[in-house]
Symmetry: C2
Subunit: 214 residues, 2 copies
């Protein structure tokens, strides 16, 4: 069939630079969530945005940076979203339980894929690597604040909240990455980890049992 509507047969309408730039950013964003960061390619973004590769290059002269920015946008949106959800819970214990349960509920596999690819691509894209470290710091800060609060209130017991936060983050990332490959028999990620956290924070068994999120 000749339904070739890929490239603009007629020259695309001229748009305000800010608008076009936003469209290109959005195309990269969507592409990364659907097919991963490795799919964020000059030509793929152009096709997705209904535009010539040269135009993408005009707005984003370096693809490395576009990939890095796309990663940062996706992940920081997730951080903000989860941080907001968590903030609505009353106690550090509830906040920690909600954070873990939310991140392990299996509804963010697209973001997990972005993370895993970022770890790999970061070795050949220094701009991206820097963004990865930034976002890891952001996540760790969110978790650490919860742990600090819990320690202050006497709910948690640890003398190294920073390390606990790193450890929690690493555990979550690992379990999600694993689920990415093992979809099918994923089992219940998220219930056992509560016991693990209880061990790390000297909590009684069951203290972190998955809370009903409203």
């Amino acid at each position: 069939m000749s339904s070739d509507e890929r490239m603009p047969r007629t020259r695309r309408a001229r748009k305000a630079p800010a608008e076009r730039a936003a469209e290109i950013t959005a195309a990269a964003h969507a592409l990364a969530l659907e097919d991963g960061l490795a799919a964020v390619t000059l030509r793929a973004v152009a096709t997705r945005a209904g535009v010539t590769p040269a135009l993408v290059a005009h707005y984003r002269p370096a693809m490395d940076a576009l990939v890095a920015d796309t990663f940062a946008a996706i992940v920081s949106a997730e951080v903000d979203e989860v941080a907001a959800l968590v903030a609505s819970r009353p106690t550090p214990t509830a906040r920690l339980g909600t954070l873990v349960a939310t991140l392990l509920d299996g509804e963010r596999d697209d973001v997990t894929l972005v993370w895993v690819e970022a770890w790999a691509l970061g070795r050949r894209n220094e701009t991206l690597a820097a963004r990865v470290r930034e976002q890891m710091d952001a996540w760790q800060a969110v978790i650490r604040e919860i742990v600090d609060d819990g320690v202050a209130e006497g709910a948690f017991d640890t003398d190294d909240a920073a390390s606990v936060a790193w450890q929690v983050l690493g555990m979550i990332d690992g379990l999600n990455a694993q689920a990415l490959v093992r979809w099918g028999d994923a089992g219940d990620r998220g219930s056992l980890i509560m016991s693990a956290l209880e061990g790390m924070l000297a909590l009684p068994r069951g203290a972190l049992a998955t809370p009903a999120v409203e």
Copy 2:
């Protein structure tokens, strides 16, 4: 300088097929450990083996398969090595502690890189993806056997050894992947996780304290 000794200026000595094949396999192996699976490319392997790309293609007609085999060889060697080390320990508790401590001692970052890249590349290389699942199963089996033994002896308490094994594996992978990016302030990965395991297995605090490995 004209020290171009890349390509064989004189035709390479003709070798027994098995030997040449082994050299190519070894080149791919070394390349993956040094620069990651993504560096295992037809031309890179050829250069490393001191041979023409065409010869590599002659022995390994599909690069997908060479990459997948390289992954499997590296990881299964690690599984065997660690399994042997662990088997030398007397009790399930000591075995689990040794396993975790060994895998988190930071001396296998090259293998971790291979893992992370395999997760990412597996999405575009089905042969590799299958091998990844195989090796994950192998790791899970090793851990699960330890947990089963511990439960049988009454040392561990869990009603789902399989899930615990998956969880332990995921946690280890996540912490190692994290360390890959955050080298510098890695801190002591490996001590906190013992507390986490104690929580998962209903062990008293400190029961898994890092054992002196001989």
